[in-house]
Symmetry: C2
DNA sequence: TTACGTGCAAAATATTTGCAAGAAG
DNA sequence: CTTCTTGCAAATATTTTGCACGTAA
């Protein structure tokens, strides 16, 4: 568990919510996902521990956790990923052909954002960028097509 | 209609597909969306002209058009937008507070992509980037909250 | 004790698929 | 002609909701 136990409990209560075992489980499941997890994965992890937890609860709780900003949603292609809001900003390069996924250094992204800030006075705070392209390997073997 | 009629017909045939009235209609509907349109909007536009076109055809055709890259999908929040691929790459800055949307110069994005290419040998071809942040105006009046 | 949160089942949406008929090339 | 596409209906998948009961505070 990466998150600070005391802190998240307070965050939940301060926003008028209650700290239930289900919410704890779901929050833990999001943490265990490391970078990002899908709703299905969260459901599976929670079920593995307490099989009675209902899918509807997962939906409702994730909405709740996003509302109070303990968790953030990240859209990658069609999938929605969930992650702990306090996590370090991180970004991905994904290959259209083979699906290969690679981490993109935040430093490089920050430089880009700084540039935008300078020119547009627009303060970017996207903390999860996903860029699609073609990886080095697939540039040499253009026939492979696993992924749309 | 923005797209070149001859060209798209060829693109479809060259990829082993057939140019049907439905595909024409759907392609037009995507064009009429200007920047980007949702599947629902496309369906509505097509229905307005030819009410017999089925929703399943919209799904299948958009998949097809994306496969042959006449059309691209752009994910903004929960919504999937469709747009003509040949359109100039364009990018947006969206303000989280007031929803203000601004165009981001492709040149700046290209520089960023070039940088990635150089360091990762990853050839980025995302042609529609959407970045969330805070616009100059809202940085001065931090209370406004129209958008999540 | 008093709302709030949960499980359950059902409803509302969204997307995909099989198949026979129609049409593009 | 031949094979790809479509419409239709049904199958799946996904997300939301109403309600009665349990429980955090």
């Amino acid at each position: 568990m990466t998150h600070n136990t005391v802190d998240y409990a307070r965050r939940i209560r301060q926003s008028g919510g209650r700290l239930t075992p289900q919410r704890r489980l779901i929050l833990d499941a999001v943490c265990e996902g490391g970078g990002h997890t899908t709703l299905d994965e969260i459901y599976a992890r929670v079920q593995a521990k307490v099989p009675t937890v209902n899918l509807a609860t997962i939906y409702r709780t994730l909405d709740f956790l996003c509302d109070i900003r303990l968790v953030v949603r990240a859209q990658v292609g069609k999938q929605t990923y969930y992650e702990i809001a306090s996590a370090e900003p991180h970004h991905h390069l994904i290959c259209r052909h083979c699906g290969h996924e690679e981490e993109l250094a935040n430093q490089m992204v920050e430089a880009f954002f700084a540039n935008i800030r300078q020119h547009y006075h627009f303060y970017i705070d996207s903390d999860h960028l996903t860029l699609f392209g073609v990886c080095p390997h697939c540039q040499q073997s253009p026939s492979v097509t696993t992924n749309a």
